[in-house]
């Protein structure tokens, strides 16, 4: 059977769909939102680390490849509701505003991605109490010329451009208390990127990053980190943010300057929380319906992390991208291509 169902229209699902279509498969791409592009599109990311490339340069071609390919049927605003049968003849119910219909597929690719961690539970950071404590995803939108502020970093409380910005790393990641002990793997490079974007636009604004470790393992990430320090004079302080309060009506943070062995109190105009990635409800729901294994944090578990990284616990169902764990765009695209190859070889 030469039909494949791809669930999730983020970069991973888009890349997988396109590769499969190129190989002659008929692809149905199911996306629950009414747009393609996943989190990157949803939060209007503007530039991508580490090359500061415009998102449009990367995402637009990927989307175009899918939308213009006659082998791909894009079903927006759709979700799957039930699965029966086995490989290579899965019967899947797909639901959208028009109703519910059952279709048959030879293989299924799950690319349902992640969701941003909601920092409300970290009450010490005051995300729900102070307007000017924002998440990194919100900053992506603020920095986008097509976003709500036309690319100006207007702080939510009064629309002023902040003179001092602090960024807290590892919010909701590497944190046992919230149940996410793993590293979000993009927070460090994203914060470094955002710090540079802010400094480029507002050279007089000071940016302070509070971190435990700066994890710069991707291509060009370490170089970007160096650039942030050398060219943009972003101040990196080794100490995890401890609390945010109001002092004389101004946001004030506490952290330990661990290298100096002493706590610091620091007044700033805006605080960005580098909120990590968490397995989204969409991923968890898909896993339940399809009956595939999740790991202890809710991400999709490969059959074997080394030997079959794109196979789920169930034959004929494949997994790829940020639904397996935190991942950057570049590697999501690699994953999309890899899963397509795996599907093709399994359907031969």
């Amino acid at each position: 059977m030469k039909t494949v169902l791809v669930i999730g229209g983020g970069v991973t699902g888009l890349k997988a769909s396109h590769e499969l279509a190129q190989m002659g498969y008929n692809v149905s791409l199911v996306e629950k939102e009414d747009f393609l592009g996943g989190q990157v599109a949803k939060h209007k990311y503007y530039k991508l680390a580490p090359d500061m490339r415009l998102v449009s340069e990367v995402l637009d071609p990927v989307i175009k490849n899918v939308e213009s390919n006659s082998n791909i049927k894009v079903l927006k605003h759709s979700t799957i509701t039930a699965l029966s049968g086995n490989a290579p003849e899965f019967k899947v119910k797909i639901k959208n505003s028009k109703g519910e219909a059952e279709e048959t597929f030879g293989a299924i690719v799950v690319a349902t991605g992640f969701e941003h961690f909601d920092p409300t539970v970290k009450q010490e950071y005051g995300y729900s109490r102070f307007k000017d404590v924002v998440t990194n995803a919100e900053v992506e939108e603020l920095l986008n010329p097509n976003g709500p502020t036309k690319g100006e970093l207007k702080r939510p409380s009064d629309g002023k451009i902040p003179k001092k910005v602090a960024i807290f790393q590892c919010v909701g990641s590497r944190d046992k208390q919230v149940g996410n002990p793993y590293c979000c793997r993009v927070g460090c490079v994203v914060s470094t990127k955002q710090a540079i974007e802010i400094k480029e636009k507002y050279p007089d604004t000071e940016v302070f990053v509070y971190y435990m470790d700066m994890r710069m393992f991707g291509r060009g990430w370490e170089e970007l980190y160096g650039k942030a320090m050398e060219e943009y004079e972003v101040i990196f302080t080794r100490g995890r943010g401890a609390e945010v309060t109001l002092k004389n009506e101004q946001l004030s943070l506490r952290a330990e300057e661990t290298i100096m062995d002493r706590p610091i109190q620091h007044s700033v105009d805006m605080i960005i929380l580098a909120a990590g990635q968490a397995p989204g409800d969409g991923t968890i729901e898909a896993a339940k319906i399809l009956g595939i294994k999740q790991n202890e944090y809710g991400y999709l578990a490969p059959k074997d992390d080394f030997l079959s990284p794109n196979e789920s616990s169930k034959a004929g169902i494949f997994i790829a991208g940020a639904d397996k764990g935190p991942l950057d765009v570049e590697n999501c695209i690699v994953e999309g291509a890899a899963v397509a190859a795996k599907v093709a070889s399994s359907l031969k």
Binding site: E124, K176, G239, A242, A255, E256, D261
Partner: protein
Amino acid sequence: MAENTDKMVIDGVELVGIWKEFMPSRILYEDVTTEFLDEVKKLPGGSTIARCYQCGTCTGGCTLPEFVDKFNPRGFINLVRRGHYDILVSDYKDLVWKCVSCNRCTHRCPKGVNTQEVVRAIAKFLEDRKVFGKLTNDEAFDEIFMDEVLTDGRIDEVKIVKDFYSKTGRLKDMMSGDQLSLGFKMFTSGRIKLFGGKIKDWKKVSQRLKEELQ
């Protein structure tokens, strides 16, 4: 130490001779031992110490640094973990025990360290090694408190206060004006009274708990 007879000038004064001998070295001669870490781990509340990844969230939000210079829960953990026993004793022994149990640290620690209990365990570790040369106030208080709990099942605050002052040799402070009139006010207002103590089988419970303490 290697001899060095170079000339050196400090604040316009020329020093000649083996000057390195009176300039303390900044190098930390590290002989890492996990002996102390193992010991603290076994003390009450100490079991989570090895989880710490030194992020400083505890110290960043701690109640005390504002009032007690150099108080630093992350730092205490680091010293224990690296086996810097001498530094812990010489520089921090009078600080560690000052923790007021506000629990800001445990509340926020991302690694699930029970920081407040670990800090208490480090203080206890120092107490057990007798670095204070006398019974500390904490030891005295804990002993009196536990003794009272195990004997009566409940505590009587006034008795505890009295026993504490007496055990730490400060009974006369207690007999000074303020404390005494306070006690008087409480007696006359009827607040100090001995309760019935009708806890079911307390003798048996107490016996069993005492065995645990051995």
